[in-house]
């Protein structure tokens, strides 16, 4: 076997192993974290976005199917479930702060969710998008499994909704802080709550990594807006006759 053949056979072996894809994913994220800490220049340069770009570049460069990558990376993906459940613990620790703000929380989640749905509809119509894309866009602010279920219910395209939802999360995580600084919202609870409401898990992850109070309020907003949106979107579709 020549050296080249030996390298090739190692590469073939590695591609089939979860270890390679797990190492790549964590490495890309750490690189993103490093670049983010060093630059802090541009909001799009956050650790998740950079990590995603690095991994995607590797896959495209070597012509790897996403399914093959995900077969390895699914072990990281699996942890999303337990991580979601474990949000109960910081929420429990800050329970007094949450009950003290109960009225503001409930009002904001209701009006904020209505706003998110209506602005999405108005913009989608303004950009003259097709009806099935409009329907796929409506539930985009909430966590992907809820959004996909709602999309299916109202006649959207669930897989398209999944993509739209993730992009919403990344944009919320990337530009949320910047927007809130611009509007001079200083209260950590209000900052986190707005990010969780409008950009679900990815926004919550970002809030949690910056401030615990913001993270807890983001998690509460994500859960509540998920439920409210699941009920509101079908009602809006019916009332507006979309």
């Amino acid at each position: 076997m020549t050296d080249e053949q030996r390298l090739y056979s190692i590469w073939v072996y590695l591609q089939a192993e979860p270890l390679f894809w797990l190492t790549l994913t964590i490495g890309a994220y750490l690189a993103g974290d490093f670049i983010y800490r060093r630059t802090r220049l541009f909001p799009l340069l956050n650790p998740v976005a950079i990590g995603i770009v690095i991994v995607s570049a590797v896959l495209l460069l070597f012509g790897i199917q996403y399914e093959r990558y995900f077969d390895g990376a699914k072990f990281i993906h699996f942890l999303l479930g337990p991580a979601t459940v474990s949000l109960a613990i910081p929420i429990y620790h800050k329970w007094d702060l949450i009950t003290a703000n109960a009225r503001a929380i409930l009002t904001t989640v209701l009006l904020g969710s209505v706003f998110a749905i209506l602005i999405t509809y108005a913009l989608a119509v303004a950009f003259s998008l097709d009806r099935d894309i409009v329907l796929s866009l409506l539930p985009r602010s909430v966590t992907a499994p809820i959004a996909m279920g709602v999309s299916e219910l109202i006649g959207g395209i669930p897989s398209l909704t999944a993509i739209i939802t993730i992009v919403t999360g990344i944009i919320g995580a990337a530009f949320g802080t910047f927007t809130l600084d611009l509007l001079r919202v200083r209260e950590m609870s209000a900052r986190g709550f707005a990010i969780g409401l409008a950009s679900h898990g990815i926004g919550t992850a970002r809030a949690m990594s910056r401030n615990q109070t913001a993270g807890v309020f983001a998690a509460v907003a994500m859960g509540l807006s998920g439920i409210v949106t699941a009920l509101l979107v079908p009602a809006v579709v019916f009332l507006l006759g979309i």
Partner: protein
């Protein structure tokens, strides 16, 4: 730590089962979150503490999982990049809707929440 992992997995499992059984749109882990929170609040109210071992176990496990929460979104994020062609000619319009919609929703919700909080404080 192992107790913490066990409790969290157990509640996710219960959540997934509830979701499947009642065929709900709310995902299993979110149901698990709500049930675990209720359990913690109930135990807390009844015994005034969770017991050191469980409390520590849950705290370390959740801190570990939540410490690098953004990392867990990289695999699906890559999926979006690889499948972005599904948006075909509508890419820019859809991105525009998402960008303006998300940023304005964050702004409106934050300002509303802050106003309500300040008013609540003044009334106290």
């Amino acid at each position: 730590m192992l107790q913490g992992v066990f409790i969290i997995f157990l509640f996710q499992l219960i959540g997934e089962m509830v979701q499947k059984y009642f065929d709900l749109t709310i995902p299993g882990p979110v149901i698990g979150l709500v049930l675990l929170l209720l359990a913690l609040l109930l135990v807390d109210k009844r015994f005034r503490s969770l017991g050191d071992r469980f409390e520590k176990g849950l705290d370390t496990t959740s801190a570990t999982l939540l410490g690098h929460l953004p990392l867990l979104f990289v695999p699906i994020g890559v999926g979006v990049v690889m499948h972005i062609s599904a948006l075909e000619g509508h890419l820019l319009a859809v991105l525009g809707v998402i960008f303006i919609g998300t940023v304005s929703s964050i702004g409106v919700s934050a300002l509303l929440m802050q106003t309500l909080q300040l008013r609540g404080k003044r009334n106290d």
